[in-house]
Each structure stands twice: as C-alpha cells, then as structure tokens.
Subunit: 352 residues, 2 copies
C-alpha cells in the first residue's frame, strides 16, 4: 500500500524530504507541495510534484494522508494544528515549536483528532549516535559517567531565517534539539540541572555558539557544544565509562575504544612518580601501553529512511511510533529551561 | 645574600622542593628538613640536610628564615600557623587548606606576625599555561569565550593519603586547585556560577574524576576536567576565541592556532549546502582550507624556579608577591562552593 503525502515548505529541508522519500521509501508517494514563495512553486512543478496554490488547497486534498512541515520554526504550530484539524497525520521539522507550551497545544489537538503527530528527529538514525548507543548498551567499557557530544563548524553564521529570533533561529533550536534528543534517548534518567552558556559571536539576535552541561539523576553528566566558530574540532563524541573511553571522531565514524587489557589487574608495572614536562606526577603519568587494549568501534547498520518506514508502520497500525511527541516535549522543556537559565547566572535546577 | 630555609614533610613533593632549589635557586639554601616518619629522617640526612628531630627544633632554629610545608593537606593549617608564630616566612603546598575559613585563619596570623605567607602555585609558571595566557593577552585570535583546561590520566587511583577524605584527598584538591588558580589568574572577571560533577570511580572516599563548568561575569565560560580514568585524552587546552581557535595538546606544548586568513572576508567561495555523512548541512560543512591560516603557538620563556626567585625578591623587599594569599583564598572559596554544589543538583550561583 502506498500512502500519499504532501510537504509544506519546499526549501532546503523540504526538498530533502522529497528526494529522500522518492529514492528510499516506496511506501510513501510525495504527491505535491506548497511553498509561500512564488519562485519555489515553479521548482515544485519542475520536480514533478503538484504545486498547491494555497494551504487550503493542500488540506482539501483528500488523497493526502500525511503532511510534512518544513517551514521556519515560528510557523510550525499553526500549520501543524491546521493539518491535524483537516484530518492529516503530521511530521513536523524540528525544533517543532519555540517552547513547550506551544507543543502541548499541538499534542492536545493531535489527541482530539486522533491523528499522528511526530517530529523529524531523524538524527536518532545517525550512524555516530547509533555507534555510541551500541557501546553503552553492550557495556563493553562499563557504565558511562561523562558524555561529550558536539557539532563544530567554522562558517561563522546562522543562515537565512535561522539568524532571526522571531523565526526561532540559533544553534540551540537548530542543532541543540537533535543532540538533546539523542542524549535523552540514550540516558535513562531525569536531568537534574543544567549550566548553559549561549554566545552570539556573529549573529547578534540568536545564539550561534552554545555550551551546555547537563547533570542527570543517575550520576551521568554531559557536555554539549554547538559551535559555528571552531577552527580546531573536538571529536563528535567522547565517552568516559568506568572501564574505558570511546571516541567517535566524525560523522564517518572514525574512532576507537581504549580500555584496560584483559589481565591488566595482574600485570606488574612500576606505578611510580614520572618526571614529565610539567614536573613530577604519578596520577597524570602515562599508563604503559601494554596494560591497555584498543578495540574497533562496533559496526552498526542504520538507515535514515527507517524514520519514514516507522511512520508508515504507524499509519498501517503495525508499529509503535519511535519518535514520540512526549519525547519532543521533554526536549522543549529543557530548551525552555536553558533559555530561562541564561537570565539567572546560566544555571537551573530541574527534574525533566 | 643567601636565605636559609627548611622543609616540613620530606615526601615526594618535599624532596622535589629540595632538589629544585638546590639546582636552580642559589639565593636559597635548604638547611634541613623535618618528617614525622623515622625512615624519612634517614633519607633527609643522606641527602646532606640536617634532620630536625621535631618541629620545635626546626622552629627554634633562628638561622631559618623560610619554611616550606609539604605534608598532607589536613596538617597544613596547624604547621603554617606554628611557623608564622615562630617568626618564619611560609610557603605552603597546595591546596593550602581544606576550606576558605581555615585559610582565613592563617592569613590573619600572617598579618599579625608581619610574615610572608604564600602557596606553592608553581603551575603559574607551567609552559602550557603561559602559552595560553600569551595568546589571550596578545589578542591574536580576538577575545576568548570558551576555555577548556584538562588533565587526564588513566592510572585509576589517588595515591597514598590523597585517597582519604580526612587528609584532603581527591582530584579537586590535588589538581583542581592548580587549574582553578591558572584560570582565575587568566580571566579578569568574577565567577558567577558553577556546575560540578564529582565522580568516585575507583577511590570511594574522594573525587577521582571531576568536571566543572564555570561561567564568568564577562561572558567567558570554562570547562575543567581532572580525570584518573581517561584512556583517550583531549588536548591540555582548547581555547575558543572570537577570531580563531588555539590548542595546546600536551605539556610539551605541541599544538597550533587556526584563524581566518588575512583577507578571508573578501574571498569568494561557495557557501552552499554540503552533503556530509550526516546529511545536508551548511552550518556544519567544512570551511575551505584556503580561507584559514595556521599559526605556530607562541614561544614563551618560563622557569619554575622563578616561583622561589619571587619569594627571595619579597624577602629582600625588592618585589611584590606574585602568588597572593587572597588569590589562594578565592580558589578555596570556589572549592567550598563546588563541594557545596554537589549537595544541590551540582550547581551553585556565586560572585567570587
């Protein structure tokens, strides 16, 4: 069975939804799209889609079962509610709304109408994320206690509408929601506090360089960084566990795991003071290489199209929804908290 | 003029003070030392020093002008006050005391007696620290907004008395005071909040893996990490400034500065969406290499013995004290705050 869908907003991401689905999800057919910009309507037609002349026309198309919304962030809520009320199922681009209250409105309508509402948190299917999740779940290096997750660019700006406060611009809304969603999905515990540093180096209105420190109730802490001004990058992931360290360098998943050698406890070696360039130290002296072992990162199989495959499964009542609205709500509550924290010395206590 | 000094506590650090001074500071002469352990008294004699049989004997030696205290942390206060009251000038090992109140007691006695009291914050003379300070002061990459400073070992334990709470063990007292002292000396602003994660992976009684996020009033934030369980290290320093990034990899000061090329603003290049392994992105796409330039780290000249040279200068009333007691007090107040924060979700607001 093929389900008809339409797209609202045919910019960079809208076009990407179309081409990804066309190439990889045969169970879905993008029938048409609507974009407020006249010149984009021509592009929609040129790409073989029906160019709806208005949202009303799109919503009135009874053959359309699912709508994906990919417009600037401040327009998500109104479109989402209009779609749900017209009886459509809805996939909305992240960060879904500008705060938790708006998202709660959408979720309420979704429940009233009995229609699916979910957020395009496609980065749960990113390979680097899945590799880290696999390491934590397998316990190969014990329990995590510190996780660093970063995206660092150096292009020095937020593009287009992402540079404006009114539109919900800034790195926290743009990349923050992805990395927060991954982290909350990975750590089965409430967040108890956040320390937030939002910096505007280039784009006055919005945050373009962000650091967050999150402390979880189960004793894990996490550093998150979203940067547009970093010229020497850290690894994408650095994970400290009780029995070793894992690093995923980049999206291509170069990296490694280093842990104690199998019989390290029995090995004899001189645990003595070492004279380094920084003076005498025992604690910080290097450990002999033979007492450790290096493992390859686990191989994981992941495909972004599984995001939409799950949507199809839900439409056909065969699967449970993976990216749940309540999870998106938790992320939005944290983002509310982060923006609130900035007014109070950058920190906030919470139980989210 | 040569000034006689003595050492209380002739363990790892006490012995290091002796040999460093003997080799590098001819203006000082270590006359003798006292250690509570009988076997160490023999070592003191074997090293050509007078082995005082008691603290009283040491304090009664009128030829001794300066005493360096290098005993476990919980004994610092009583020895320091006894020395000052006996008319000695005092250098005390860090973290000086276990809290700010104890340090205030010492400072009060120092003022009453009109004697010098200072802390062995020798890491202000570390090359890696001086390199970073030089970069910030020269402004070669603009203003800092995020500074990461770390020491990461993997030997998995706090040695000897450093493993016990009673003795003031743990990484925050051991390495934390050094890195905090460096940071406070480098950033001319008050700390407004701290987020602290103290973990005991191996040594139940004390913190052996610590992360601190500090937010400063002038808009700078800093991540500090002191780890005994890290198998894949980060750079010693990673510094994000408005116009570039600097990395000091290690104590040997390998590393580099990367910043925009001189005429980067005028360069034409396609600032378009790039398809990476993580999907389409413009913000996180790499910047063309020709729009950046790589600089060597600045060469700096620094010698640890200048710590004691400054003490000599102060004794001879020719120099101002570099490591001031008030600075040590500020570090201790922060440490009090960090230990207090742990009880309250890991965060605390302060104006220190």
């Amino acid at each position: 069975m093929v389900h008809n869908m339409a797209i609202i907003g045919y910019g960079g991401m809208g076009g990407w939804h179309h081409s990804s689905i066309r190439e990889m999800v045969p169970e879905l057919r993008v029938k048409g799209a609507y974009d407020i910009r006249q010149e984009i309507q021509q592009k929609i037609s040129a790409n073989g889609l029906h160019a709806y002349q208005s949202v009303e026309e799109l919503l009135a198309d009874e053959t359309v079962e699912l709508v994906t919304i990919a417009v600037p962030n401040n327009f998500h809520k109104d479109y989402a509610i209009a779609c749900l009320k017209a009886g459509k199922n809805v996939v909305c681009e992240k960060p879904v709304t500008l705060n938790a209250a708006e998202l709660e409105e959408i979720i309420a309508v979704s429940k009233e109408e009995g229609k699916l509402f979910t957020v395009h948190q496609n980065r749960r299917w990113d390979r680097d994320y899945r590799v880290v999740k696999n390491i934590l779940e397998s316990g190969v290096i014990g329990k995590p206690y510190f996780i660093e997750t970063r995206v660092q660019g150096s292009r020095g700006s937020m593009h287009g509408w992402r540079g404006y406060k009114e539109n919900g611009g800034g790195m926290l809304y743009d990349w923050g929601v992805h990395l927060l969603d991954q982290l909350l999905d990975m750590i089965p515990s409430r967040v108890v506090s956040v320390s937030a540093h939002l910096e505007s180096v280039f784009t006055e209105e919005v945050d373009d360089n962000v650091k967050l420190m999150l402390l979880f109730e189960n004793g894990v802490s996490a550093l998150m960084e979203f940067s547009t001004n970093c010229f020497i990058n850290h690894p994408r992931w650095h994970v400290s566990c009780t029995e070793g360290t894992a690093v995923v360098e980049n999206w291509e998943c170069d990296g490694k795991i280093v842990k104690l050698a199998e019989n390290a406890e029995q090995m004899k070696w001189e645990d003595d003071i070492v004279y380094t360039a920084a003076g005498p130290t025992r604690t910080m002296a290097p450990r002999p290489a033979h007492t450790t072992q290096v493992l390859e990162l686990p191989k994981v199989d992941t495909k972004w199209e599984d995001y939409y495959r799950n949507i199809v499964g839900v439409l056909e009542q065969k699967e449970e929804l993976i990216v749940k609205p309540e999870q998106a709500l938790r992320v939005m509550k944290l983002i509310d908290m982060v923006f609130g924290a900035v007014e109070h010395g950058g920190i906030a206590t919470c139980y989210i």
